[in-house]
Amino acid sequence: MVESRKVEDLHLRNLTKRFGDFVAVDDLTLTIPAGSFFALLGPSGCGKTTTLRMVAGLEDPSEGSISIGEQDVTGLRAFKRPVNTVFQSYALFPHLDIFENVAFGLRRRGVKDIKPAVEAMLELVELTPMARRKPKQLSGGQQQRVAVARALINEPEVLLLDEPLGALDLKLRRQMQIELKRIQMEVGTTFVHVTHDQEEAMTMADTVAVMNEGRIEQMGAPADIYELPETVFVARFLGQSNLFAGRRESSGSDSVTVAAHGQQFTIPNSRNNAPGGDVIVGVRPEKMTIVDAGDPIPDAHDRIAGRVVDVSYTGVSTQYLVKTSWGEEISVFEQNDVVGDQSAVGDSVEVHWARDHAFGLDGTGTSADDVESAMPVV
């Protein structure tokens, strides 16, 4: 087993990368705490790989700096940085066997007596019997573990993983997620894990940063980001959200009232991120409850009337699509824990939610049409 070691925070300051006129990474400033499992989540082309490559030293930043603890590594060549990468395509050396692949970093640094270290590492990733095989003779999941072992054996301050599970099928992915998490806990190294799978980011990471067009939109613990997204992009990219564009009507000491589509919605002040008068009200589908029109609704709940246009039963839950009077389709997820009637297509219903579950987003410069479609932006 590998000893847990003291590791240091990774700081990115005003990190920018331009390719010609195109800004791939835009003024990124963030601190990744030592020993954390950090996920960089974002859609394709948002600059995740470019960010990792700059940290690894494989790409020179146009501006900004990178440091590990107190040490500025911006100018250091890749082979001098205490950082190792698990590549998107694994990039295992095809001419070397598994043992030599894992030993590569130690050999280059002239470490003596590497056999025990390599064997311990192969043990950690459960590949001991494969030591003398060539990479091509391993399955995708095994190759992935070799790539992790080859990087980790160098005891880097930071391990960078670029969509390491992207090439695996769903079942193996889930298995490897657990595996990677176990390895991370065992070695205590900072993991920066790039993915565009939001579920993967949320289940694995301590901290998730949602990236869009070269910028970090929001960063925090998975539950915090999910419960209180700060931008429309995050609300959509991380799970689903029902959004209603409106204007602030009045502000109380602990809540604001927003008028949208001739109705009033209330958001706790602590959950309102709109600085101005244009406010987008957001509610997660699973926070909503569906009742027949006219049924009583609890206190401190807001409501919307509509008609069910689609019902899909998914086992643990039922997903409804409800069309409002202004034509927006909202999603509602209900647990299948109630006995008795369920709403059917065509029913007139009311959807309601606790005001404490609503959140407010900045609606400046966005039109209702931009915001109010049930499609997630992926």
Binding site: A56, G57, L58, R77, A78, F79, K80, V83, N84, T85, F87, Q88, S89, A91, L92, F93, P94, H95, F104, G105, R108, R109, P129, M130, R132, R133, Q137, R150, A151, N154
Partner: protein, 284 residues
Amino acid sequence: MRFVRRHILTVAAFIVLVYLFIPVAVVGVLSFNDPPSKYNTKWYGFSLDAWTNMCGIPGVCESFVESIKIGLISTFVATVLGTMVAFALVRYRFRGRKTTNLLIFLPMATPEVVMGSSLLALFLNMTFPLGTTTVIIAHIMFTISFVVVAVKARLQGLDPSLEEASRDLYADSRATFQHVTFPLVAPGIAGAALLGFALSFDDFIISFFNAGTLVTFPIYVWGAAQRGIPVQVNALATLVFLVALAIVLIAQFVAWRRRKALQADMASRDADLKALSMDALSRS
């Protein structure tokens, strides 16, 4: 009838092989001939003379050694230069890269007669004495193209992330070249060198133009053919064929050994896995 239908492919392959190897076989058989005159075209009787006394005819062995020497030198130089050109063409962006890429193909597309005669014209204009040097220069020139093409293909097929991974794993550019790039490109370079040697060894036209009084093996054979080819030529040709065959067989044998070793490894691993899962079962 059914037998024929089932084995038609094997039969066809066999016929093609016979077709390919009859000339070689004839040459081989005639190397043991004992002709009374210079004309070694029909069977007279068995003799080992040509094999035991390979250099018995004046000039045969000298020309053979000359050809080997020219082949080795020109292959070495062409391989080194060609490999460097290939790296430059694939790895660096510079002015004239596209043109170079195109020009590299030219020697392969030029008829040998044209290339041979224009080289001769060049050497004569420069009053450069014809001989081994001019032949080597000519051979390097036309082998380089083949080396560049072969190595370039190999390099282009190389995943750039392999070299990045190497840099990421504490290898500086030198170590990356030594431990990753070169081993991965080496099979391409070796193949190019073998091809280059074969091309040089059997070149007649270009050598003939630029050899002056020098006699290479193909030139010797050509000259001898006018007067009747000595049996020693058959023996030498058979020897070359046998050496080539041996190289191929050794390569096959090594590959087969590796496969065997791997299968053994897989089998033992399967046993390991079985033991492991039994162990897990008994624990749970």
